[in-house]
């Protein structure tokens, strides 16, 4: 018996049906709602909105700012997070017809996938979190509502405030600005990245003065290596932030003077569109600087752990005392407080590249510090058409949330750096308040697209362990980057015709 005794007639029938099916599939529209041009908001009512008697439920995905769920069992020494709950309860007491609910994001799932599903079904939580770096694709798809008309209003809950968005630091406002100059979200706190180091290890290695320049840093790594530690944590697997952060720290120092040439629309934010246009003009990337970055990167590789080309669990290695330092964000502070490692620790700024290494180096301190906190909130774009009255309530709730005392109480719990003027964070974050010369406006190819980020990780995985020549490396890098630009243009053909 053969399963495949299909006669020619059957095959023709199958092909015919397939063709019909494809045509049918092509003719039916996808389930997306008609996309309104981005930036159309309804005329807003005076805030706070007086509502009808029915209860409005607002689902809020607060990300790291969310209070601990009632069903969670705490570790010894762990503190239940309640700050945002208290803020919400105070609000609900004043507005009995509004119910604030915490939406718990399904852990382990991919946020882009989740967002696509939610926006297609139009059942997303009323307030959702998204990192400012993914802002432009979301704006394209009308997933984020423009805040401008509310941003201009005074915040009734903050005395003396005449314009709501005046409350926030520049970095926070810039981060939410779309390519068209409008504001597509609110950003109340931020994050920074420093190098977390093991003070006991430094002592054992005999390092008395903390390294500030690149040469001193390499010297410290040598001392650590001799003392039997793994000096510097690195992992190059796709999706790991290490190469992203290293790129930001090093490359920004190398292109200090020319970096804002890439800011084509002049909004002090380097967006994907800026990068694409700069590439077309041959301005970005500065390949000489990129090559120098590659060399410096390679200089660090002897100090990386075994297997750095793949995925490694750096926090675990560091906690075991084998790894002396790795780059960590300030969001790790609350964990360090609640579950201290068995050794001393402190934060170190990224080394400064001196003129003997790169003549054009500015010898200034760069910091990755910006609007990548938990309290970056957006509102689904479709609500502007489907439920404008609800949007007013949402904005009112956000205004209440952004009162400096409230932001401060939340940041003290989360360990994030407030970007709301007048709000205070944790004293342990003092290193993050130290002065720096510039917060990097551009980090890595990730700024352009997720695909470009993957491609960059791949590039480093190929280059670093090999003995590729400079020419071979540049050729590969240019080829890779150019292909990525093509992909972005394919999805946004209107960018270059403007």
């Amino acid at each position: 018996m053969s399963m495949f005794s299909m006669s020619r007639r059957d095959l023709l029938k199958a092909l015919g049906l397939t063709a019909v099916g494809v045509v049918a599939a092509a003719c039916t529209p996808s389930a997306t709602p008609t996309t309104a041009p981005a930036g159309e908001e309804p005329v807003e009512t005076a805030a706070p909105a007086e509502e009808v008697a029915e209860t409005i439920t607002i689902q809020h995905w607060a990300q790291a700012a969310e209070p601990t769920a009632p069903d969670v069992e705490l570790e010894p020494g762990e503190v239940r997070k309640v700050a945002y709950d208290e803020v919400a309860e105070a609000y609900m007491a004043d507005h009995p017809n509004v119910k604030i609910e915490w939406y718990r994001f399904p852990a382990g799932s991919n946020i882009d996938e989740w967002l696509t599903a939610r926006m297609t079904a139009q059942d997303a939580p009323e307030i959702y979190w998204a990192n400012s770096e993914s802002l432009w694709p979301h704006i394209q798809k009308n997933w984020a509502l423009a805040f401008d008309s509310w941003a201009e209003l005074p915040n009734p809950y903050v005395s003396g405030n005449e314009r709501w968005f005046d409350q926030f630091e520049d970095v926070a406002v810039i981060s939410q600005t779309g390519p068209d100059g409008k504001l597509y979200g609110i950003n109340m706190d931020g994050a920074g990245v420093l190098t977390l180091y093991n003070t006991d290890a430094f002592e054992t290695a005999g390092i008395t003065d903390l390294p500030t320049t690149w040469t001193e840093f390499i010297g410290a790594c040598d001392a650590l290596l001799d003392a039997g530690f793994i000096p510097y944590g690195a992992t190059l697997a796709e999706g790991m932030t290490f190469s992203h952060w290293l790129h930001a720290h090093i490359y920004n120092q190398l292109v200090w003077d020319t970096i804002y040439d890439w800011d084509k629309d002049g909004n002090m934010v380097i967006t994907a569109k800026d990068l694409v246009l700069s590439f077309e003009e041959g301005l970005f990337p500065d390949w000489d600087a990129f090559l120098q970055f590659a060399h410096l990167f390679k200089e660090l590789t002897p100090y990386f752990p075994l297997g750095y080309e793949g995925e490694l669990d750096l926090p675990q290695l560091w906690r075991q005392g084998n790894l002396a330092m790795y780059m960590e964000g300030n969001w790790g502070v609350s964990q360090l407080k609640n579950d201290p490692p068995p050794h001393g620790f402190n934060w170190l700024a990224f080394p400064v590249i001196t003129k003997d290494i790169w003549p054009a180096a500015p010898e200034k301190v760069v910091r990755i510090q910006g609007a990548w906190g938990a309290m970056q909130y957006h509102v689904p774009g479709y609500l502007a058409q489907t439920d404008p009255a609800r949007v007013d309530v949402i904005m009112d709730w956000l205004m209440w949330s952004s009162v400096p005392e409230h932001v401060g109480s939340i940041c003290k719990e989360t360990g994030l750096v407030p970007l709301t003027k007048g709000a205070e964070g944790l004293p342990e974050l003092a290193p993050f308040y130290e002065p720096y010369d510039r917060a990097v406006p551009y980090q890595s190819w990730n700024t352009m697209s997720a695909s470009a980020w993957n491609a960059e990780c791949n590039l480093w995985q190929q280059y670093l362990p090999s003995d590729m020549t400079d020419d071979a490396f540049l050729e590969l890098a240019e080829e890779t980057f150019s292909a990525e630009v093509d992909k972005v243009l394919e999805a946004n053909p209107d960018w270059v015709t403007e």
């Binding site: 399963m3 389930a31 969670v72 939406y103 399904p106 609640n338 579950d339």
Partner: protein, 293 residues
């Protein structure tokens, strides 16, 4: 093919021993080899169990050997988190399996026993489905579900997952139904029984072992599926248990891989119970020899 051939397939057999040759104690060697292989196959389960009783610091100290004190609190934590989701999983499983088995039994029976026009074509169409990579159809399938207003509903989980399971079940059941000798049905037809009645009274009882096997395998599959529920369900309280396990890795402010492993063990317990209850039938179904092509 006679009825006696059917019965011998259900009772396990042993090879008769050669009488005229000197035998080495073959069982010892066999047992040693099988024991080693079996142990190696079983090691991940042992690892899972001992890891589920560690704290993060214990894992940092000694990953591979059991450490005392055993952290039973991992299980307490995990079960608190997963409890409400277990019921959701049960509902998903019941619905999906029911729809899937009912549809595939009917279809397989029709394909096996009746020479209707287009039979081969339909079967090929079903087989062809298995070759379409699942990821490819994920988003379009979601769009269909939204268009039918089934998002965030139970049927939105049951129906698409049942659809995905049809192909394998139909292939196996078709082979099985085709192997039932015609004589059994002849008798029924002579008595004037309808086709449906014959399916119910003759074919189904014979198919019980293989159906048990298919049901157990499907329960296993549905239970561990998490990509589809995340897309369809916008209400996190409806999530299945497997998502609860994933949440354990992220839920609490500090990472607790031990509790997550405990979560996997807890997630496996219903399957284990199911398996224990049905193992005879499950194994009999697999060993009935009907699973082949």
């Amino acid at each position: 093919m006679s009825t006696t051939d059917m019965t011998h397939a259900t009772s396990p057999q042993r090879i008769p021993q050669p009488r005229r040759r000197l035998r080495i104690p073959g069982d010892w060697v066999l047992s040693a080899i099988l024991g080693l292989l079996g142990f190696l196959t079983f090691v991940p389960v042992l690892m899972l169990l001992q890891l589920s009783l560690k704290s993060q610091q214990q894992m940092a100290d000694s990953m591979w050997l059991p450490t005392t004190p055993f952290r039973w609190v991992n299980y307490v934590k995990a079960s608190r988190v997963m409890g409400p989701y277990m019921i959701n999983s049960a509902v998903f499983v019941l619905g999906t399996v029911t729809v899937s088995i009912v549809c595939s039994v009917f279809t397989a029976f029709a394909l096996a026993r009746y020479p209707f026009p287009g039979r081969e074509f339909f079967f090929m169409a079903i087989l062809g489905l298995m070759m379409i990579p699942g990821i490819l159809t994920l988003i379009p399938r979601f769009v269909v579900v939204v268009n039918m207003n089934l998002n965030n509903t139970y049927p939105g989980i049951w129906l698409p997952m049942a659809a995905g399971n049809q192909a394998f079940q139909i292939i196996v059941l078709r082979t099985f139904f085709a192997s039932i000798p015609e004589e059994m049905f002849e008798a029924g037809r002579l008595d004037g029984a309808s086709e449906g009645r014959m399916l119910r009274t003759i074919a189904l009882p014979l198919a019980t072992p293989i159906l048990t096997t298919l049901i157990v395998l499907q329960i296993n599959g549905v239970y561990s599926e998490f990509i589809w529920p995340i897309m369809v369900l916008s209400d996190p309280t409806r999530y299945p248990a497997i998502l609860g396990v994933l949440r354990l890795g992220e839920l609490i402010t500090q990472r607790d891989p031990g509790a997550q492993y405990a979560g996997y063990v807890i997630a496996g317990l219903p399957l284990l119970a199911l398996f224990a209850l049905s193992s005879r039938a499950f194994i009999r179904g697999l060993t009935s020899g009907a699973i082949k092509m």
